[in-house]
């Protein structure tokens, strides 16, 4: 299973963090610091995998963003590269030519898409169309401003 998924810029600014295990805030911050540092110093043409503590770190750079996740020993690294690519494709399909700014300004949508793709560190849906459809329908359930104000909360 995946232990965490991080998105960060080339300057090390965090754009998305998803944790699949319970950790204290301090631990999370430390992991982010360590992993970000480790990945940012790698030369451009190097291998996308590295060993860190007891985890395999898989990362890939898409334009100005690094997509990085920590895997357990039994997970398939090559397949995880495909997984990261699938997530980028989903974002791309949703935002239309996605770029870092889209993810900055619509981070909550990025999370929603991720939650339709992965739960508990495992893939839940392997069909791109299915994820896109779910997002569309869920978005349509979101109330407009008028509906929102008029609907009772409880």
């Amino acid at each position: 299973m995946m232990r965490f998924l991080l998105l960060f810029s080339r300057q090390g600014k965090l754009r998305l963090q998803k944790w699949f295990t319970a950790l204290s805030d301090r631990d999370k911050k430390k992991i982010i610091r360590d992993v970000t540092q480790m990945v940012l110093v790698r030369p451009p043409k190097s291998c996308n995998f590295l060993q860190w503590r007891d985890l395999k770190i898989v990362y890939r750079r898409y334009a100005s963003l690094y997509f990085c996740c920590g895997l357990e020993q039994g997970d398939n690294e090559l397949l995880t590269l495909e997984l990261l690519h699938r997530y980028v494709e989903l974002l791309d399909q949703y935002f239309g030519n996605v770029c870092e700014l889209d993810i900055i300004f619509n981070f909550e949508k990025a999370y929603f898409i991720l939650d339709e793709f992965i739960i508990g560190g495992e893939v839940q849906e392997t069909s791109k169309a299915s994820v896109a459809k779910s997002m569309e329908e869920a978005d349509s359930l979101q109330e407009t401003m008028e509906e929102y104000v008029n609907k009772p909360t409880y």
Partner: protein, 819 residues
Amino acid sequence: MPAPIRLRELIRTIRTARTQAEEREMIQKECAAIRSSFREEDNTYRCRNVAKLLYMHMLGYPAHFGQLECLKLIASQKFTDKRIGYLGAMLLLDERQDVHLLMTNCIKNDLNHSTQYVQGLSLCTLGCMGSSEMCRDLAGEVEKLLKTSNSYLRKKAALCAVHVIRKVPELMEMFLPATKNLLSEKNHGVLHTSVVLLTEMCERSPDMLSHFRKLVPQLVRILKNLIMSGYSPEHDVSGISDPFLQVRILRLLRILGKGDDDSSEAMNDILAQVATNTETSKNVGNAILYETVLTIMDIKSESGLRVLAINILGRFLLNNDKNIRYVALTSLLKTVQTDHNAVQRHRSTIVDCLKDLDVSIKRRAMELSFALVNGNNIRGMMKELLYFLDSCDPDFKADCASGIFLAAEKYAPSKRWHIDTIMRVLTTAGSYVRDDSVPNLIQLITNSVEMHAYTVQRLYKALLDDISQQPLVQVASWCIGEYGDLLVSGQCEEEEPIQVSEDEVLDVLEGLLVSNLSTPVTRAYSLTAIMKLSTRFSSVNRIKKVVSIYGSSIDVELQQRAVEYNALFKKYDHMRPALLERMPIMEKTASNGPTDIVQTNGETDSTILDTKHLPNITQPASQANDLLDLLGGNDVVPVIQTTVPTKPASAGGELLDLLGDLSLTGGPTPTPAPSVPMSQPSFLLDGLTSQPLFNDIAAVIPPMTAYNKNGLKIEFTFERSNPNPNIAVITIHATNSSEADMTEFVFQAAVPKTFQLQLLSPSSNVVPALNQGSVTQVIRVLNPQKQQLRMRIKLTYTHKGSPVQDLAEVNNFPPQSWQ
């Protein structure tokens, strides 16, 4: 109160901040506004405020005051609220906060909501961050949803179940009925998550594993369909149909087939098919091949399939893609134990990977190279590994050096090669070798007796070149101290002997003492080496001078050593030669990792020892003399008893005990000095204990009673010493059946001249009354001529206030003990 600013506004504003301080200020201002908005319990803007809070949280600012607000959002009817509320819960709440339990009821309600997307939200949240308590409470609901026909919910419920099982393994049974027809689904999402659920259950419980073995044919069929079916746009990735599902099925098959012949046979065909038909031009195909190889290696596959798998890995090694090479090296490392020969065939490719530019690949290649070293390829491999050691990054050097030492130890074709290799490592990566390699190397050098002259000469030459590498310097100074006489006399056979004078050698050692590059430990080594040369060289005065100078050194360790050595020159000059004798051969008990070095006292190879001529030693109150007198005659040799437990930690006592044996005549008694200077690292004494020091074969020799008088009974039990059949190990057990304790109990023994005997420390010197306990002591008897064992024993103790002394002869040794 004006409406709180929108999320996008906030993000835009914060991004305009030019400094960290400016950003902090903006955030603080907005947090204050959000806080007051929360206080007003405003339902309309709560969602917006929490979203802003989540953004600020991502930047690293504290957001805990929003936790309760997330709960309120989750409880709200509005979908927008729920979405943000659940997101906030996943980001801000975790099982460490008690507050999270308040979520449980909301989640329970939402799990039964009429809208599937709301159900989906709660399933997702529970599956990501549900605590054990929450899982226990809600497992029933999840199980219900696992049986629904709605595939959108079913797949989420399956992964939620996986999380529940991870958190609360006892609940696994509960989900068993629901798994009945999971695999008959058409929906790939459900199939995938079902396979994950089944995998999790099988990994955790052997019972589940055997139960689910019957699914193998079904899994094989699904996999076959995926491969054989034509193009399906929905799940296609670069021409391969649903690689995620394929890999997961292969992983489940691996678990089900492991150790089971029938299952393994059922999957043989499909594995061969996948292995041969998968397209390898893209990463996705290689991902599937990788998983296939792992599966083939783990199950009981037929040999043809295994060879196919190793060949696939071999092809991976030659792939241009770094990731694939890395993955190949990792897999080969896993299989090298079981399929060693097959992996050996790819050795040259693996060794080439040592020269790869990528750090991850180099590390894997190094680990794999060490695993492949054997007696046949040691020379070639070592050349490559030494070259690697020269050129690799510092992070690798320590591991590489240790690996080289281990490999050299196991497979060295000759002693000279071994020593040359070690020298090479010390000179190229000297500062990176681990601390325990210095004593290991010293032990190795000691044991290669015929190479002493060659070794010391090479080490001396290395010292002349470079004194910065501490481990090298330490080993070199130890050797020079030990074999300096060989160095000066130019006795080297292997190489052209060099001409070096005593003064030159002392110059080098003194140079180490004063150099800034030397660590305190190194200085201690060289001081002791200089001291040892006082018995090997003739220029004693110079040595005396050096030693006395360091008597006032700031370094406490050096000072203590120098002061004691000084004392050795002055008051105890008669003991100096004996103390500074050649070190005897050391035996190792294990050759992997840190060794427990055992002192055998040179009993096994007494021919190799240079026994120095012992000067006459005055023996104040030597009990050994008494024994001699008592036993009257030259046919018996007294034995030095070891120190009584009152001074068990006396290093000096134990050292002198060793020397006592070497001399074979009455040696010096244990000195009252707390610690006679040890010229060797402490590991020598670590091995010396008062219990029998070897793993022996079961005692086949029957025990005997050696003495039984006045309530004191002494029994002898026998063991054979494993490394040397000439040594018999006798353990005496002294018991006291009288009513009073026997205190100050001392056991002494003497044997005829042709034997050698060593007494180790007794367990105590009080024999408790009424057989409540016993005193044990170990005697080791070397009997090279296999003569009949006889022994005279002397017992002294205090009983009921009065001292008792007794002598006895022991002749009734069973024949097996000395044959």
